[in-house]
Amino acid sequence: MLPSNLQADRFDAYPPLAKQLAVANLAMLQRLPLCFLPGLLRELIEYDYKFPAERKAMNRELASLASLTPAQMDDWFGGFFRVSLSPALEQSDWVNRPEQFVEQESAWLWSTHQVDAFRAAATKYGDRLQAATPAEPLAVRRLGIAVIGQGVDSWDRPLFRNLRAHGTYFEHVKPERGLDLLLAAMETRARSHPAPYGHWYVDGGQPAGHSPVLTCVSYAELEPVRNALLKFMQNEIGRPGMGPEELRTDLAELLPANLGMDKPADPVLDRFQVKIFTEGSGTQIFSTTFAQWAAREALRRAQPLTLLVRFAPRQRQKPMNELLSVGRVNPALDPAGSLVDADMGAYYHWINQQRLAGSEQSAFVAWFEGHSQALVVAPTLPRGTRSSSAIDMGEVVALALS
């Protein structure tokens, strides 16, 4: 089926809000190229479970597309219309299984050497969309905080090397009660600028005590979900005919209830957490990867005003089959390696934050937990410099936002 043949009843299996949105935009959807549309539907079908920022972005995108003249459509989508797809892709159920279509389309684009053309078309589309749908002004400057190095007693190699050129390196901060002060500052911000899913705390281990006004995701608290997922994966791998592409498709279709989250406290957050494990690579086995990827996805999707990510020691490297097995008790940890992972994770946190609206005003703090080294990137602070000020972490945050 081609997009031009789309009818409203094709969306009957969509969740209510997604269906309503799809039907309301049917005429516009019919005009889109097939190589593009399932990617859009892949997002739209999840509309009922999306964060507010994502819903707003989706609404803006659909409104923008609906307003395009035929000439503008050609201009925006010319590159996509030139991509050729296989008959099998055209005949697949891309309306109800857009995720699977996108998987198969990727393989098709690579194998037919069209991936660069698709990438160019997608980049152009992204640029045009961004220009056409400017983000709303933020209620407050965005703040990112990365806490790294839990469990490391001493470290004599330089930290924050990638970030130092962008901010001020503090070498004598007072580490006492550092995490408490950071979380207190988070709570203050969250209460002053309340927003659903606007203030996040991601922990790669057991979360510290924190205010319920923060959206919290932690590796330790999701252990039952991880174990259920690993068990599912082991079973899948053992099935005849199973390959990586098939496994990925099956993983993508997992819902919170499939992994033991039977009583959803928050369907949106539950789905987000499941996707961290089913879409992320390494998130199931290394807590540092989980923390980095969860922070990235929270920024990309929820676009929070505040996000604190605290890295914890991950388990040591082992053969993959062993890492994927369930029921390991107290695995050996690698604090030093985890610090290196987290140092890079903090850099990626900052990069991802800078990709969002308001980046020129945003602030970022990285801290070596329990130690006196911190790094602050803020528009009011000099770049590439050092400070010997003996301030505590609460004062560091205040300085970053000053």
């Binding site: 593009f36 990617g39 892949r42 997002e43 972005a57 996108v102 389309e105 990727s106 393989a107 684009l109 690579w110 194998s111 050497h113 991936v115 660069d116 698709f118 990438r119 997608a122 980049t123 589309y125 992204g126 640029d127 961004q130 983000a135 090397r161 994966m233 390959g243 990586p244 592409e245 496994l247 879409e279 992320g280 690579s281 390494g282 086995i285 290394f286 540092t288 990867t289 980095q292 990827w293 990309r300 991950r314 490297q317 082992k318 053969p319 993959m320 089959n321 062993e322 994927l324 030093a336 390696g337 610090l339 992972d341 140092d343 890079m344 990626y348 990069i351 990709r355 969002l356 609206a357």
Partner: protein
């Protein structure tokens, strides 16, 4: 799993900013490699050396000529290697090998960025489109088949040492005019060790790590795989000696290099292809393990080159070619996740480098012009004197 996020990543990251134009990124990568090398290793620009290459072209010399290819399954980016902050990770490549080498700063891979299919493309000189995760042979004749058929070489003269089970079909294609019986012998050291240890054994667990690109799946074996009983007849190693030595090693790539050295001693193949894979642990997202992989690969490349100098069959008549199969995603591309993958198809993931050392190679020279991954096979053909008729690449003039 290598490609599955491409579409959505490219199309759906509207909230995040875009990277600079691809052409700019390539130019930046090439320029930075050249400048870093010049500063760190004191090498010269290749344009100063436009005369013929100092190759030994006489037929008797060609008959003795040997070529060793080392590929990395899992590229390493400039910021972790050739840039100032990365140079601490590659002291051997930079300090020992680069000054002796012709270094190509701009090797472009226009094919599929999955390790098996990309290595198959390197080995055939054609951008293959086979399933990256299936144990299938390449669609086009491999360098080993051209070499053996054209030059009438025995099977003992072409070997592949590969890291993961998916590579067991890399030795020969299923082309009718080449194919069965004309390819390379393939050793999968991990599989060999697993067989020697009679199944999973925790003593060797660190050497039996799985395929990082798709840690969830291992295809079934098939094809001309090196058998356990041939340890003794070909490598002159008892199972006990093999197991005992394996205990002294720390990674799968170390095991591969050990096997490669035994092959050099016992079989002295004229064409030896080694694919390393430790770096690809980056897919797990653990940056420290990725860095350790780079440092180990750097050391192992130097060890192999040293071994070449110490083997009478190889010293003085061997050309060694070192190249990653492709790069990794840049930090700047919003569709990727930095070092972790090679999914975006951005300039950093498609652009890599090559180092050529030894017989017929000018020393301490940097070439900035673009060459392609598929140029490797015709280049080896010109070195050894065979004709890769189906390859779509071109011999690199500076090496032939």
């Amino acid at each position: 799993m290598f490609d599955s996020l491409t579409c959505e990543a490219a199309a759906r990251d509207g909230a995040m900013r875009r990277a600079s134009a691809p052409g700019d990124a390539v130019a930046r990568l090439v320029r930075s490699r050249r400048e870093f090398l010049r500063a760190a290793a004191g090498v010269a620009a290749g344009t100063a050396f436009l005369g013929p290459s100092p190759l030994v072209r006489a037929e008797p010399a060609r008959r003795k000529r040997k070529v060793i290819v080392i590929t990395f399954g899992g590229g390493a980016r400039d910021q972790e290697t050739f840039s100032p902050e990365g140079q601490e990770n590659i002291p051997h490549l930079l300090g020992e090998l680069a000054p002796q080498s012709s270094f190509f700063t701009h090797v472009s891979n226009q094919g599929i960025l999955g390790h098996y299919v990309a290595t198959a493309s390197l080995a055939t000189g054609v951008y293959e489109t086979l399933n990256n995760f299936a144990a299938v042979p390449p669609d086009h004749p491999t360098v080993f088949e051209y070499f053996r058929k054209d030059l009438k070489r025995p099977s003992s003269d072409a070997w592949v040492v590969a890291p993961s089970n998916g590579f067991n079909r890399i030795g020969e294609s299923d082309c009718r005019s080449y194919g069965q019986g004309l390819g390379a012998r393939v050793v999968l050291p991990k599989h060999l060790l697993s067989a020697a240890a009679s199944g999973p054994d925790t003593d060797y667990a660190h050497l039996l790590r799985d395929n990082y690109e798709s840690p969830l799946y291992t295809p079934q074996l098939g094809g001309g795989e090196f058998e356990l009983q041939q340890l003794e007849t070909i490598l002159k190693l008892s199972v006990d000696d093999f197991k005992a030595h394996a205990m002294t090693l720390s990674s799968p790539d170390e095991l591969s290099v050990y096997i490669a050295r035994r092959l050099m001693q016992e079989e002295s193949p004229s064409l030896l292809w080694i694919t390393m894979h430790d770096i690809d642990v980056a897919h797990s997202g653990a940056y420290s393990l990725y860095i350790e992989g780079i440092q180990r690969t750097d050391r192992l490349c130097a060890e192999l080159w040293k071994a070449v100098q110490g083997e009478p069959e190889y010293a003085g008549n061997t050309t060694m070619l070192i190249l990653p199969d492709f790069g990794r995603d840049s930090d700047e591309d919003a569709g990727g996740n930095g070092f972790q993958h090679h999914r975006t198809g951005d300039a950093a993931s498609r652009t890599t480098w090559m180092m050529a050392l030894g017989a017929g190679v000018r020393q301490g020279v940097v070439y900035n012009q673009q060459v392609q991954s598929i140029d490797l096979v015709p280049t080896i053909g010109a070195m050894l004197g065979f004709s890769p008729t189906e390859s779509q690449g071109r011999a690199i003039p500076e090496l032939v």
